[in-house]
Symmetry: C2
Subunit: 263 residues, 2 copies
Amino acid sequence: MIVAFYGKGGIGKSTIVSNLSALLADKGRKVLQIGCDPKHDSTYALAGYLVPTVTELLAKKKFVSERISAEEIIFKTACGVDVVEAGGPEAGKGCGGYVVGETVEILKRLGILGQYDYVFFDVLGDIVCGGFAVPMQYSDRVYIIAGNDFDSIFAANRISAAVAEKGHFHTVRLAGIIGNRCDEANFLEIFCKASQVTLVTCIPTSELLKKSRQEAKTIFDLSPKSKIIHLLGEIAAHLMKDLRSVNARIIPERELFEIFAKE
Amino acid sequence: MIVAFYGKGGIGKSTIVSNLSALLADKGRKVLQIGCDPKHDSTYALAGYLVPTVTELLAKKKFVSERISAEEIIFKTACGVDVVEAGGPEAGKGCGGYVVGETVEILKRLGILGQYDYVFFDVLGDIVCGGFAVPMQYSDRVYIIAGNDFDSIFAANRISAAVAEKGHFHTVRLAGIIGNRCDEANFLEIFCKASQVTLVTCIPTSELLKKSRQEAKTIFDLSPKSKIIHLLGEIAAHLMKDLRSVNARIIPERELFEIFAKE
Ligand SMILES: Nc1ncnc2c1ncn2[C@@H]1O[C@H](COP(=O)(O)OP(=O)(O)O)[C@@H](O)[C@H]1O
Ligand SMILES: Nc1ncnc2c1ncn2[C@@H]1O[C@H](COP(=O)(O)OP(=O)(O)O)[C@@H](O)[C@H]1O
Ligand code: SF4
Ligand SMILES: [Mg+2]
Ligand SMILES: [Mg+2]
């Protein structure tokens, strides 16, 4: 199954996805996690260091992507998850999403995507255009990670619109919203109800998850009995479920403002 | 003077820029504020409502931008600031920054930019490419708004690189960093020192600024004696100063990670 996780920058995508990958690898699944964010630190907690990026490699190969082989961009990690980092394009030049598009095309060309039980794209979701939208074209489903705040919910609504748009030409569907840092979830619940999308789970603010990112360790290494692992298990379980047949409703932006202005 | 304010989404650009605009208008300056963020709420506190966007108007004019006149996109506000909102492009289709580029070109074509003492672009800075980079081409200087955290400082470094790149072909220069929600500023100070950029001021977390955005009012309406106004005055004063002749140093991303990993 190929899944793309989108969400506003800083909302916790990499923290959640890398720990989810570790959970599934621990259960014996073959997992590939692909970081598609200019911060190129999606897989930091899995590898224990910042792996070389496709951007850096492309520069060495004079941007002839056909010269790139699988071993040069896919790295093994101690927890059993394989990882790739797209990297960041040169700032201020050309399309910001270019290297994400290139990375996906390279993996497709090398026949990599079909070799795993789970392929997880971890993608910047502040604006979903150009190369940043390419992972959707190859994904079975998209999950959006959001917090209980206007900015990340506004971004979630726009990502949902992008999924609907891509869904006209590809098989990708929006599977649900994953709440993060949700000590409250009132706005997320309103948003999910109004857009007819499942709220898969709500992960609270957690010192453990913060440590996971800071110390480049998964929560399995830090605290194998944490209840956060149970919540990640809820996401893993949702991956197994069939998608609902109801399409997401894109909320008109002025209506979204109203929801937050009222509360 | 034409100034572009960039920074990671949600860092407080619109809150700061709209209150700065109100301050300068209050002193008798002619100010135009142009919102260049898909959230199109940059000028909310000035107008008191969400003004019609260039995106919405372009759709009505079948995307023939030559049909757009100044009165249709520039709105007067009670505090004396004139405002424009670029709006958000259709999600998932084409270039996310397209409408920002179009908005800037329309204003240039109509000769608007030269009619004001201050023209402030308030621009999404999560990725600076395509249309999102266009305001830099017409600006005298750029200020980056950042918090004391990895994500917004990482974005600031990339914006700085984009300014350096544009600076090869245009007169734009990076003038400084404006700290926001800085109850501490240690990381900002390290970043500014390492990149040889001025830290103009540090605005603390402020219930008043939060209210300004939520109630669509400037802080002059809410609390005319607030010390926040003094800090905004420091930004206004910096606008008057000549730029330093030292160029910003772009920090290699792996070095930036090291700075945060150590502390
Ligand atoms: N549930 C959580 N509780 C506390 N901190 C979190 C949580 N989720 C993420 N974080 C922290 O937030 C920051 C951003 O997370 P990250 O996963 O890098 O975001 P993204 O990949 O969406 O940009 C990291 O410092 C991380 O440790
Ligand atoms: N100094 C501050 N203290 C407290 N809240 C702030 C401060 N600056 C901004 N905010 C709040 O942060 C949120 C995002 O601010 P906004 O100006 O919309 O960010 P941006 O324009 O960069 O996306 C708003 O709800 C605003 O009220
Ligand atoms: S398509 Fe998106 S990522 Fe590419 S240049 Fe335009 S705004 Fe940037
Ligand atoms: Mg990430
Ligand atoms: Mg804004």
